[in-house]
């Protein structure tokens, strides 16, 4: 049979093939976790909405809208061949920098950080999207110079990451800065960083953090939070800084094996843990759903990590591997830091729990990241 093909048919075939290979588990996981997130936001915002005189569903509705936008964004990202995104990395990176810089001028401060754009009733946090953008950029750059990551090129890669980190840090968002550092580091390590460079980079990172603390570039509340975590300060001396940490641990411990029951945990119900519907959402899971619920959520996250790790191995090109690793690192460090701080094994930073914490920008950015990973997975044979 004569084969008469044209470009359009080829693309259709390609996308049909791609849809056939979509990772359904990875598609379902964010949706499931987001649904739980909406429930827990409802649970944890009881006292907050009552005190502020807001509607009981105020946060749930807004988060619901963000989840829907996120799902659409995820599907859109998945339809564009990731290799086109790969080739556009310099453009993506170039667009991110002014977006980040702008917030320093026009932004709105909250919780010690100045990292939000106020768009009418909506707020937009560019650093959340910047995390994903930087992972694309570093992965794209390393893909271009595959197997040839000499010191000079390494320096360029570090400069790419360093610029984003510096601006985010200038927004007093230490947590996101560290997340970006971990993501960039993970991508570079997989990209073939030489062992000697790894050692030098670790030393450099330690020196930078040390210098920042010594020269007073780290905000006092950030230091206090860390001292509190390290047990250097007594509770009475540093009440405010340790308050969150103690109350978070308290709420989780109160949950026990099976939890107090949804909506029945007295600490959650009475707003005992500050910022509970945002950064401390895991304490609501811990108190109301107990170890059963908390462990289930951690298992869902572990499943998510496994799918991302698997994509890194299955990817048809090096960029796909690096992208999946960067996204994997991003989720893992956020989950570990966020859940860890609620349980008192990590210091407190303002990092949201992916798909769970209230916060539209983070939700949308997380869905975009999953969209990229799905993209790599479904095109692994093309």
């Amino acid at each position: 049979m004569a084969t008469i093909t044209n470009a359009a048919t080829k693309r259709r075939d390609a996308s049909r093939a791609a849809i056939a290979h979509v990772d359904l588990v990875l598609l379902a996981l964010p949706a499931a976790i987001s649904a739980l997130g909406l429930l827990m936001i409802y649970d944890a915002s009881r006292a907050e909405t009552a005190n502020a005189g807001l509607s009981r569903l105020y946060y749930v509705e807004r988060q619901g809208v963000a989840v829907m936008i996120g799902v659409v964004a995820m599907l859109l990202i998945a339809t564009v061949d990731y290799r086109r995104i790969r080739d556009a990395w310099p453009l993506i990176y170039a667009a991110t920098i002014p977006l980040l810089l702008g917030v320093l001028v026009l932004g709105r401060a909250h919780g010690g950080a100045q990292a939000w754009y106020q768009l009418g009733p909506l707020q937009f946090q560019p650093s959340e999207v910047a995390k994903v953008a930087l992972v694309i950029a570093i992965a794209g750059y390393c893909h271009q110079h595959r197997g040839d990551l000499d010191a000079w090129r390494l320096a360029v890669a570090i400069a790419l990451a360093g610029a984003v980190m510096a601006i985010v840090y200038a927004q007093h968002d230490l947590g996101t800065t560290l997340v970006i550092m971990v993501c960039a580091g993970a991508v570079l390590v997989i990209a073939g960083l030489k062992p000697v460079h790894i050692v030098v980079l670790l030393a450099l990172a330690a020196t930078l953090v040390g210098a920042a603390v010594v020269t007073g570039k780290v905000q006092s509340y950030q230091q206090a939070r860390f001292q509190c975590f390290a047990g250097k300060t007594s509770v009475t001396q540093n009440k405010d800084q340790c308050y969150n940490a103690r109350h978070a641990v308290d709420a989780i411990a109160a949950g026990g094996l099976s939890g107090a029951g949804f909506g029945d945990g007295p600490l959650t119900r009475n707003g005992y843990v500050p910022e509970q519907h945002t950064d401390f959402i895991f304490t609501a899971v811990g108190e109301d759903l107990g170890f059963a619920g908390g462990a289930t959520l951690l298992m869902l996250y572990a499943l998510l990590a496994w799918r991302l790790w698997r994509i890194a191995l299955l990817s048809s090109d090096f960029f796909g591997t690096l992208l999946a690793i960067g996204i994997l690192a991003m989720f893992t460090i956020q989950i570990f830091e966020n859940v860890g701080m609620t349980m008192g094994i990590m210091p407190i930073t303002g990092i949201p729990l992916p798909f769970m914490s209230y916060g539209g920008s983070a939700v949308i950015a997380s869905f975009i990241a999953i969209g990229l990973a799905l993209n790599v997975h479904m095109r692994r044979f093309s």
Binding site: A47, A50, N51, A52, G53, R56, G147, A186, V189, I190, A191, G192, R246, H247, V249, D250, I252, A253, A254, G255, G256, L257, P266, L267, N270, G271, Y272, G286, G290, F291, G294, A295, L298, Y301, A302, A305, W309, A312, L313, S315, F318, T321, I325, L328, A329, T332, I335, F336, V339, G340, M343, I345
Partner: protein, 638 residues
């Protein structure tokens, strides 16, 4: 992918597994494992919450309920509201309940309420208001409608007498800050309700139920965590039965009120046309045989229900204002009055006991007598003639008793011996004056002046040694004044009633009491309150006492008796004595003390009205009304 990269991706996988494993482990230890208790202990503290315990009832001698707990629907507001919400919620409540915002806020912030429980901001809300709050729950975050037990006064409603025995029953309230220590030693907690006055205070230990105590774990915000650690069940308070007879009490209060209102329409005297002020008064009805208080009325009074659910600021400041003239005070046992001629009971008994004058000696009363350099006149100047003791009492001859006072003073001046010189004081103390009677509510000891007291008082008010000495002298006038119940002598209506009871029952000095028995409302077990008599007084039953009895009867029944007119038409034989006690710069205190039936005395009735004029003018008609009410109980509607 190169092998190198593959190895590195695998290493990343291992790192991630380790991270998740450590989170899971930490979660396990925190929620299920050994760390759990440790974390709880570091943050949770135990606290004990006491539930309200039903307080015992107070009933009268016939079982009429005077005070009991009733259910009141109240509004409580959670303590963890944010400032904005609190303002909004209290504002909306103020609108709905029609109560001032300030009152609600004051109640919300009151330190007297337990910090562990929602603050009760309003009591006794209507059914409509209840429904409105419950239906609009979203408009009232943290607001609850709760059932509380509060005091209620059924007899006051039944007899339409809002102030029924208010000063006797007393009131309850949160433990005052300065008494917290004392109560805490007995197991009370801040915010507990206790009796603060009257029977509620005197019988607190039996009225107060043992509260149910629930020990719970609370977090640093005071919120309960988990199930209660320990529950100690409570018990209900016991019923206190009083010796009061509600009907007689109501009659006494009405008689006192009528008497005072009537006095306020009478001129002070023939030369002073302004009406009597009749500022305050009290009535005591005492059982002459066992010392039980059948009625105890006070003027001015006030409605006890003002205290229910916490007194309002307006009511409280009124009760304490000079305008209200201390309506909280139980004047019947704590008010001090000059007894006037009713004190001649003491003088007459002392006269024969210490041989100052024979009971039959015909003493000439010329209307006035000069003692020292002072002229003492008969009160109305009409009692002229030769009087024996009986007649002197009936017509209330002041000169007869002035001269007795003078005789005592002469004896004291010559011998400086207490006996017989201060025989008047000795007799007064024997009859229970000048010292607490042993009454189960608070009382004043009163004062029987003597040379020692006068010197001490002078030392107290004078600085100059010469003045101390001069003003501390015991002059004839002091003893003369005492002989007719004036000057520095001060008695409570209860003391006066108890002294007359002692005379009426021929010598038993009783312990007056208002508590009759304690009854357990569940087991019905009861225990009578029967305080033993305080002592026995030996009277001269041959001459003096019979003569005095005749004298007291004559006061009421002899046309020349001082209270003859006041008692015209009373069928029961009454014996009594008027008193018109001169008070410096004020109209006299009107006093009447009586016992009846005169031949087998059952009750003593005493009425005292400050600035009430003559004894026969105000106090005697009050006593008459009370006696008629006791004789004719159907007359008191209820």
């Amino acid at each position: 992918m190169s092998d190198n990269s593959r190895v590195r991706v695998s290493i990343v996988g291992v790192v991630i597994v380790a991270l998740f494993a450590s989170l899971l482990a930490r979660l396990w230890f925190l929620q299920v494992g050994p760390d759990r208790t440790q974390d709880k202990l570091s943050l949770l503290t135990e606290r004990t919450i006491q539930t309200a315990s039903p307080r015992g009832e107070i009933v009268d001698r016939n079982g009429v309920v005077l005070v009991q707990d009733r259910l009141s629907w109240a509004v409580s507001v959670d303590r963890d509201l944010g400032p904005k919400t609190r303002v909004r919620v209290l504002g909306q409540l103020s609108e709905l309940l029609g109560r001032p915002y300030k009152d609600l806020l004051t109640a919300y912030q009151s330190k007297a309420q337990s910090p562990l429980l929602p603050a009760v901001v309003a009591h006794d809300i209507t059914v409509d208001q209840q429904i409105a709050i419950e239906e609009r729950a979203t408009d009232f975050p943290g607001v609850h409608v709760i059932g509380l037990t509060v005091r209620s006064y059924p007899a006051a409603d039944k007899f339409h007498d809002a102030g029924l025995a208010a000063q006797v029953l007393g009131y309850i309230g949160s433990i005052p800050a300065d008494q917290l220590n004392r109560y805490e030693k007995k197991g009370y907690q801040p915010g507990d309700t206790v009796g603060l006055d009257g029977v509620e205070a005197a019988y607190e230990s039996v009225l107060h139920g043992r509260p149910e105590r629930i020990t719970v774990n609370v977090d640093p915000r005071g919120l309960q965590v988990g199930a209660p650690v320990k529950v100690v069940p409570g018990s209900v308070g016991q019923t206190v039965r009083l010796t009061l007879d509600a009907r007689v009490q109501v009659a006494a209060e009405r008689a006192l009120d009528n008497g005072i209102q009537a006095a306020r329409k009478m001129p002070v005297s023939a030369t002073e046309p302004l009406p009597l002020k009749a500022t305050e008064g009290a009535v005591v009805v005492l059982d002459a045989q066992d010392g039980s208080v059948v009625a105890m009325a006070n003027y001015p009074s006030y409605p006890l229900k003002w205290w229910v659910g916490g007194i309002s600021e307006t009511d409280y400041s009124f009760l304490n204002s000079p305008l209200a003239n201390a309506p909280l005070l139980n004047r019947a046992s704590s008010g001090l009055f000059a007894p006037g001629s009713s004190f001649k009971l003491v003088t007459a008994l002392a006269m024969t006991k210490y041989n100052m004058r024979g009971a039959y000696f015909p003493f000439p009363d010329t209307g006035s007598v000069t003692i020292g350099n002072r002229v003492f006149k008969d009160d109305d100047g009409t009692a002229h003639g030769n009087f024996d003791l009986q007649r002197a009492i009936t017509v209330s001859s002041d000169v007869y008793f002035y001269t007795i006072g003078n005789s005592f003073w002469q004896a004291w001046n010559l011998t400086k011996q207490a006996i017989p010189g201060l025989g008047l004081q000795a007799e007064a103390r024997e009859l229970g004056f000048g010292a607490p009677t042993g009454f189960d509510l608070s009382e004043s000891p009163g004062r029987i002046p003597d040379p020692t007291w006068k010197q001490q008082f002078s030392n107290l008010i004078n600085k100059d040694p010469a003045a101390k000495l001069a003003n501390g002298q015991w002059y004839p006038g002091d003893e003369v004044n005492l002989a007719v119940g004036q000057g520095d002598v001060a008695v409570t209506p209860l003391q006066l009633a108890n002294a007359y009871a002692c005379f009426a029952n021929d010598g038993t000095l009783l312990t007056p009491h208002v508590g009759m028995g304690i009854e357990n409302p569940v087991t019905k077990a009861s225990k009578a309150i029967t305080p033993p008599p305080r002592g026995h007084v030996q009277f001269d039953d041959q001459v003096t006492r019979p003569l005095m009895e005749q004298g007291f009867k004559g006061v009421v029944s002899d046309p020349s008796g001082t209270a003859y007119n006041a008692f015209l038409g009373v069928n029961v034989p009454v014996a009594g004595k008027t008193g018109t006690a001169q008070v410096n710069g004020k109209a006299p205190t009107s006093v009447f003390a009586a016992y009846f039936p005169a031949d087998s005395p059952k009750y003593v009735v005493v009425a005292m009205v400050a600035q009430g004029g003559h004894g026969a003018q105000t106090a005697a008609p009050i006593v008459r009304q009370v006696i008629q009410a006791i004789e004719n109980p159907g007359a008191v509607a209820g």
